[in-house]
Symmetry: C2
Subunit: 436 residues, 2 copies
């Protein structure tokens, strides 16, 4: 298969995702229910999951005209006269406005003391801040009874405008409004919103199950002391961590040697998953059997080879299975940094979509390049790098011995993006980094 550009390969993954989402919504309509497979979880355990229901306001937000300051509820026109106004009520957060007369209403020419978060009494149209008030006490004293007979004025030359320091009832949301849609990954802000709206439990999407299959005659499990020509299987645990962090549920299969029968058997075993990740065995050699095994299993390939570094041999396709939609798979290169980079670039977006997450992946941001980069054009590069993420974010390439250099990778925290046409990037340039 010919090499695709990074943009073309990303586009093919996106097309697959769009078809998936469309298919799912057709299915939802037919079944009259959520096709994701959802479960209710307690709010305290919902962070990191994907919303399978929308969050709606159960009442207006704020539910009353809310004071944003400690100060005095007033009529702005009266306050702006800078006359002393009698203090005839007080309202704290959590209280229903009553006032001395018990009417719940601010009478003309009066002011009430009000606290941040408290409901503004009827009749008031502004709050002036306690810092801008001048007091006059009929009787000097500190008890509430004594102070209730005092007067207050807005200190000149300050003025207030109608609405000042008040958030009007319903200005954030109206009862019944959809505030967050299904498909959003739940973070602290969504937890706060759900709490505000009375969701003690949330419907979340089922985590997609991802079969992980590392291949290679040289691999031994982490507990085993490797022979002279062997290495430990690091891709299995690494991909499991990537899958879990991306919201999936990793099913790590035992590493498979470079032989047809065990490879075929492992692929059959993976058919129960929602996504299959194979690592290794996809370059040019005689013992690179993965592509053949996938072909024997009936694979349709969407691409096999992308003009990127690292990760050029990455392949994407799907496998038929009886009575079920086809199983999407990625065959990731065996070198660990290649495997991780291609996971982020191609597998993570599809995994997110399978889990009902509508936020686009991978995530990129900008930073200033420390040191310059020079190289041959032709490949879009995603090079292990370290960004300091300070207020003046600076990213520096991690020195590495190639895509097998796990130690260099473990000292990195992002990938520097080098566009395919670049031959040189000057120190101090603003560059793209892929957030890992």
């Amino acid at each position: 298969m010919p090499l695709l550009s990074y943009a073309e390969a990303a586009e093919r993954v996106q097309r697959f995702i769009l078809a998936l989402v469309e298919d799912r919504s057709v299915q939802d309509q037919a079944q009259g229910q959520d096709g994701l497979g959802a479960a209710a979880v307690a709010l305290a355990t919902a962070a990191g999951r994907v919303l399978a229901e929308g969050i709606r306001a159960d009442r207006d937000q704020p539910p009353f005209d809310r004071s944003t300051r400690d100060g005095f509820a007033c009529r702005a026109a009266e306050a702006n006269t800078h006359q002393l106004l009698p203090l005839t009520g007080q309202v704290r957060a959590g209280e229903t406005p009553a006032g001395v007369a018990g009417s719940g209403k601010l009478a003309a020419g009066e002011v009430w003391e009000i606290m941040t978060g408290a409901p503004v009494p009827e009749g008031a149209d502004a709050v002036f801040m306690v810092e801008h008030a001048e007091h006059s006490f009929a009787v000097e004293g500190s008890s509430s009874a004594e102070r209730s007979s005092s007067s207050v004025r807005l200190a000149a030359p300050r003025t207030v405008t109608p609405g000042e320091n008040i958030v009007a009832r319903g200005s954030e949301a109206r009862a019944g409004d959809l505030l967050v849609s299904p498909g959003v990954r739940i973070g602290a802000a969504q937890i706060a919103l759900a709490a505000q709206c009375g969701y003690a439990r949330l419907q979340v999407a089922r985590r997609p199950r991802v079969a992980i299959l590392a291949t290679g005659d040289e691999l031994v499990p982490v507990e085993v002391v490797p022979g002279a020509s062997q290495i430990r299987n690091s891709n299995g645990p690494m991909l499991a961590a990537l899958v879990n962090a991306a919201g999936g549920e990793a099913m790590v299969l035992p590493a498979v040697p470079d032989r047809n029968d065990p490879l075929d058997a492992a692929i059959q075993q993976a058919l129960t998953a929602d996504l299959l990740l194979v690592s290794g065995g996809i370059s040019m050699g005689r013992f690179d059997l993965v592509e053949n095994a996938l072909t024997r299993a009936g694979a349709q390939f969407f691409f096999g080879g992308v003009a990127i570094q690292p990760g050029k041999p990455v392949a994407f396709g799907q496998l038929p299975r009886p009575g079920q939609r086809q199983l999407p798979f990625f065959a990731l290169p065996g070198n660990p940094i290649s495997s991780a980079a291609t996971f982020h670039l191609f597998a993570a977006p599809l995994l997110a979509a399978l889990g009902g997450d509508s936020s686009p992946l991978p995530r990129f941001a900008l930073a200033e390049l420390a040191g310059e980069w020079q190289g041959k054009p032709g490949l879009t590069r995603f090079l292990p790098a370290r960004c300091d993420f300070g207020l003046a974010p600076q990213v520096r390439l991690s020195p590495w011995q190639g895509s097998g250099d796990i130690a260099a990778f473990a000292r990195s925290n992002c990938f520097l993006v080098v566009p395919a046409e670049a031959e040189q990037i000057a120190a101090g340039s603003i560059v793209q980094v892929m957030l890992a």
Copy 2:
């Protein structure tokens, strides 16, 4: 207390962290053990935790001269003659080089077929790629026995240089090298490294316990239908999610009304934690009792008020407790966006340090501003915003009704940083975002 600039406030938190780290290392030396409190966890569950031990190479990496390509192990000088060279051996990943003669050594004038990841035989100093080879078969056929009698040459005008397509033994790491230091938060790359080096379990730091205390007469729990002047406690669940995401263990105390006795009791209850977060009750009003309650508990304040928006009233200090180092606390403003922003700015770095995490927080990156910003100078602003995190990352302010507008916050995914001196930021400018 006078308002500090953002930089001064961040500096005071950093100074506290430095003292903490220094104190801890003195303690470690005295006790001859790790002061963090560490526990061993299985590699598969270590992601997100903080390393309490260094990861060391258990052998050279790579452990042998490793071929990075499928191709032919050769002597570069001989290959560069473009003569046909007899193919006298084959080595796959996981195999010990043997060769037809069984010597394990590449004899002069010969080449061996070699696979990606396989050990390069003694005598070879380069690998030329299978894509660059021309074959001559003594007997045409496909079986291994027949092909072992064939010859191969490097196709002219290609040449190889000594070392090409080989990663030399030990070039990534030497046996015993410290590859990752304690204090690193474990991600997929560190999992891969630990697996490579044979760590089936990892020593990780204990999660700091963070007491969370929301205050306010107006608060009811999420399960309760609030009265007309009440609202549900959203800061408690939100701060718990923030704490857990930052690697802490949230201890959510019941919300406390604005009265001295319950507040004093709750603060006493929190003294067993590693960090205390109080939200609400710290602005100017008569019923803002948190500062007084902390003062009664013997608080030393490092700051109380920072020139930021939102979150200006945030306070930082510590509380004495018998027989133990003082308990650091943050009094966060009650408005949810203020609470979240000040958590990220000040509490998260200290929480990370308490958990042994040496990576600096908060994390900032750059993006292009969509739309312009105008406002008054004087406060460093951290405004809820939405970044698309695409290849051309663009950030846009979330329209909001102030720092109580949780719905706007839930539609955001970062904070736009506006420097204190800015009065205007043009559309298309490269701006800082705080990653949440």
